[in-house]
Symmetry: C3
Subunit: 344 residues, 3 copies
């Protein structure tokens, strides 16, 4: 009689080219949307109002792009990061099709890189994950790499393969949702008058507002994405009895806070990279600031692309990122690099 | 390059007759309804059951009247009360049309009164706010006045205009939802046998039950209404590190608690006035009592109107409202005056 | 003028054969489903995905079987357990028809047993409760017995009637949902490869994961089921100021945790019995283990029935249930006996 519970994969269990079908497809809808608004101060109009989304050429308001990300990410946890020591990075993330209420999402991953660490106890696994809807249409794909423990330290090291990952997507790699048209965009209803042309590369924006986070909130969010990593839920999982907040909770909080100054950065189209610089715990007050990294025109009517650094902090002054040695300052929680779509 | 974040309006930024189009329309539905039931002990049958609502002549169960109020109110915060010192009062609130799942709400306000305070540092702004659905049908309107800081104390005082606001709506000013018919009302399913005729003007009801409130709950509720006032979310926003609970959270809690004794006061039709007497903080246990202020017949079949005082407290004995000097007692949180519709 | 609030029934208010129509019907849907996923780490695929449910012969994903149970149970509280001293047991619970989004549930009960206790101050009331949908189709029935205070200790004792309740349902008493067919069951998407044939009677499974519970979560859950028992919400209701967590919250948490090892025990078909062995409070970390008590074939294609003991704990080692004297160990929260449906 074999053990019935999932112990997760260890580093030696991954092979280059492995295809992982992640479990538990999920139908999403009006409930997940409302909970997203209850858990984060999300106000981007295109994700709040069917009428507004329709005035932008869409059939209805899609679910928040980060709902798609969190659900797809959550599905990968039992197969990719149950024995992970650290979530090292993201790259080449693309939102490929909006997620509509009633859609059913599932996820699959391919192992695209492996590198045993010199300590012989851990290794780095790179996976490219794709989220698909009930029509088998991809809605999202991204590369993620994690440090995973070896179960058997004597298992032989695999041949090292490190995938070639450009620092950022180019604008022609972004997928603009079909029908998106910002030529009749209502800036008053959206909440700010600043259009794509008003932002300059290098400009930094302090989003001002802060939210002090609670245990009940981050656990509800993380469960909603069916993310089962023990450290988020179980006070006995870490030596100090704290529950580590899911990094995606910080992403969503910071993105929602960025409304104040970037209300018109409506849709997330690409994820160039991201680092969870320091742990976030209940009681921390999350603030955010952004920096404009790049701008590009797109072929869609009235739609510009803007590349943003989004930084979340738990204290300190805005616009401070690294110390003199080049390390993230201790109050920095998140350093995210993404492309958004904005009316020109 | 102008600052991109919204600093809110100061007293001198308002002009009599200003029309404010509030941002971020919001589509509401099954998710907001479920969250309302999770956040408040709400049990009024007409808002719980499609079948029950249909037996009362409606096409389905509308969203709770206070969901409409909170969403419309939340939309006004960035334009009306971001720099408010105090929320002074409400008057002349009318529910004009039920809100159905799938409706998209937006809000607009008109400045109808201005009065600079004698200290020269603040002033009172009166606005009449209207919530509208996707068909531009008004669903709610009400008057609210707030004390707002001056940004520039040297800005000249406006001509004083104080709107004439009657103490209460008359019953003929109430809008009865189209089709509402209580002649086949099922008192057993509604949870209490007391009909309109059983209540007497002057009667007081102790609603008995209490709820101890938590930080996660009031923040989720307040975010759900896209209300962004910093004091509700950020422990660094107030000198003592506490988060002030949104007054509307207390209104909804007290209204839900009033089910026990007023289960048949199904629909809120009018808001005559209201005062947030003292602050509410997490850890407080909210209780409620009501007083029948007035009764009136309506033209709708089987439908009576009842005017109620709803008082929320955080301790003390029921039915105690003011001290000998006429001030609200320190344990009183809310003193609300509203019209409800009840089967006769 | 009679008192308007519900004081609940006392022991002497029940008569054998009484039929109780419980108040406040409730329409359930996408919002309740999403909240269930936010409050519990629920991952059974049939309740997560319309596509998966359709591949099992159902028209869509039904609401979790425990949502049906909690809502029906919650409706009975004002009539059955407002003055209860203890919830003594469950028996003969059967899920009779899936609950679909949009269904409206109501509940009725019949008093089937009465026995005054020898102390003369309390008595035991047995009720058979039935949950029905908007078509008056039963969705669930079960027997529950509670110890209830007497309001008047001098009221005469009723004739003692103790219903004959078998220890477990037989498999032919279980209702298999119409159309259910597990012959094309996708074990990969479900999350585990273990089928009915892989489980042996007597086998025990440690579900490994733990969740530390918070006040805001259990109150939101309990309110969502419109359960109004004061001890769950009001810190002044119990002498020590703690809020007792609704036993059903522990049931749902343990059932969700049992996914890890019993991912394919998809549907709950019968509730043979259950005891809430010790109180659960916020801060407790809930874990779960299961024991296979019985197995039986069913007439439905590919569908096996498995009888499981589900034990929830707040500490201690797995598989420890009772002390030497036969009493539940102090760390045991729940001992539940149920039938589930599983692919063969």
């Amino acid at each position: 009689m074999m053990s019935k519970t999932n112990k997760g994969r260890f580093f030696e269990d991954y092979r280059l080219g492995d295809k992982l079908q992640h479990a538990v497809p999920r139908t999403v809808g009006a409930g997940e949307r409302a909970l997203y608004h209850a858990l984060y101060p999300a106000r981007h109009a295109l994700y709040s109002s069917d009428s507004f989304a329709q005035s932008c050429g869409l059939s209805a308001s899609p679910l928040d792009d980060l709902i798609a990300f969190h659900i797809v990410f959550g599905k990968t946890v039992p197969d990719v990061s149950l024995n992970a020591v650290a979530n090292l990075g993201y790259a080449q993330g693309r939102w490929l099709s909006p997620v509509w209420p009633g859609d059913t999402l599932r996820a699959e991953s391919e192992v695209i890189g492996l590198k045993q660490n010199s300590n012989g106890k851990t290794g780095v696994v790179w996976v490219r994950t794709t989220g698909l809807n009930q029509h088998d249409t991809p809605v999202l794909d991204y590369v993620r790499w994690v440090m995973v423990r070896k179960g058997d330290v004597d298992a032989p090291a695999p041949e090292t393969t490190v995938p070639d990952l450009p620092a950022a997507l180019t604008v022609d790699q972004l997928q603009i949702p079909q029908g998106l048209d910002f030529t009749n965009y209502d800036f008053t209803l959206a909440g700010e008058m600043h259009r794509w042309d008003d932002y300059e590369v290098g400009e930094k924006i302090d989003h001002v507002d802060g939210v002090t986070v609670e245990e009940a909130e981050h656990m509800m969010a993380t469960r909603l994405w069916q993310n089962t990593a023990k450290v988020h839920f179980d006070t006995s999982a870490r030596p100090d009895g704290t529950r580590l907040i899911y990094g995606g909770h910080v992403i969503s909080m910071a993105r929602a806070l960025s409304f104040n100054g970037l209300a018109n950065a409506q849709m997330i189209a690409g994820l160039n990279g991201g680092a969870h610089a320091n742990p976030c715990l209940a009681g921390d007050t999350i603030r955010a600031w952004s920096e404009v990294l790049d701008k590009a025109e797109t072929a869609a009517p009235g739609v510009g692309a803007i590349r943003l650094r989004l930084v979340a902090t738990k204290g300190g002054a805005p616009f401070e990122l690294r110390d003199d040695a080049g390390k993230y300052r201790p109050e920095v929680l998140l350093d995210l690099d993404y492309w958004a779509l904005m009316p020109r």
